[in-house]
Amino acid sequence: MNSVATRNRILRTAGLLVFAALLVALPIMLRPGHSFTGTDDRAVEVISQMGTGVQPWFHPLWEPGSDAVESLLFGLQAALGLALLVVCFLGLRRRQQG
């Protein structure tokens, strides 16, 4: 019974992950080569189109010098978060087993 329940849980989890991956991959498949501009860039365009003449009154204290550095830093954020998440999860699991 336990093995059946475990197998069903694994299949359900795998199915959900595949569906999530498809949701992420579908836009890329439908629009190959598209730049997928960030929503805040588009919001700036809307603000500009409203004719407000707005310009930012404050600028970031520091900015990544290139797309590559920006991507690296986002990757670093994700990696740090994932590492902490795994450490915390394993700690919880160890506590339950112990």
Partner: protein
């Protein structure tokens, strides 16, 4: 419009992000949202301090919720609308610890991104905190409390996490519409324009976040049942 372009032309990496960008909220509104966020931060800091001091066993779950927000908010995903955005990861913490605690954890994520990634901003930290670190977790908490005894916990967790993700961007749209009402249609016209950018783009990402959160919560139910029970989370399907 040319001024806007020049302002960002110096940044080789025009940010592809989803928060309100640095300097794009007028000073009044920037200050307003800080004032709104402040009580949540104060209550949140006190609650975290009390939790860590009196219930040390909650530190791991606290860390996990903060880490989850850290991970998900770093993942830029394309949307079928042709734009890209990020999930928020704040729904799980909102359910487990409530909006005041997540106001602090989520704001730490936002501060990190503002300082090191030029993603969001310091002047817009209040507004971005209200949308991502307060409104989202608050909705998750309300959804969980309202529905947890009426349907499967997994379904409720999905709704809470996806709803938190989506409401973040609805609130962002409202914040921008308040600051930049449409010259003709006013707040509502501007809100619909911004929501058309943010909220609709976010729908598939909210679904993805809901799925990932359910998977993580399922894993926590099997590996940290006692810790969840200590937070009043009864483990059942």
């Amino acid at each position: 419009m040319a001024g806007v372009r020049v302002a960002w032309a110096s940044a080789a990496a025009a940010p592809n992000a989803m928060h309100i960008m640095e300097g794009y909220l007028p000073p009044f509104w920037a200050a307003f949202w800080f004032v709104v966020a402040l009580p949540f931060w104060v209550v949140g800091f006190r609650r975290i301090s009390r939790l860590v001091a009196e219930h040390r066993e909650t530190r791991l779950l606290l860390g996990l919720c903060g880490a989850y927000a850290f991970v998900l908010s770093a993942l830029r995903m394309p949307s079928v609308t042709g734009s890209s955005s990020h999930p928020t990861g704040t729904g799980l913490g909102g359910v487990l610890f409530g909006p005041s605690v997540m106001s602090v954890l989520g704001s730490i994520v936002l501060l990190f991104q503002a300082l090191l990634l030029a993603h969001g901003g310091l002047t817009t930290l209040g507004a971005n905190s209200v949308s991502m670190a307060i409104a989202g977790p608050l909705l998750a908490w309300v959804v969980w409390r309202g529905l947890r005894n009426r349907m499967s916990q997994h379904v409720v967790m999905f709704l809470a996490a996806a709803g938190a993700d989506l409401v973040t961007y609805v609130v962002t749209s409202a914040e921008l519409a308040l600051a930049y009402p449409d010259p003709v249609a006013g707040f509502l016209g501007a809100f619909l324009k911004f929501a058309g950018i943010f909220a609709i783009t976010q729908v598939p990402l909210a679904i993805v976040e809901g799925i990932l959160t359910v998977i993580l919560y399922d894993a926590l139910q099997r590996n940290a049942a006692a810790d969840l029970a200590a937070l009043g989370m009864e483990t059942r399907a």
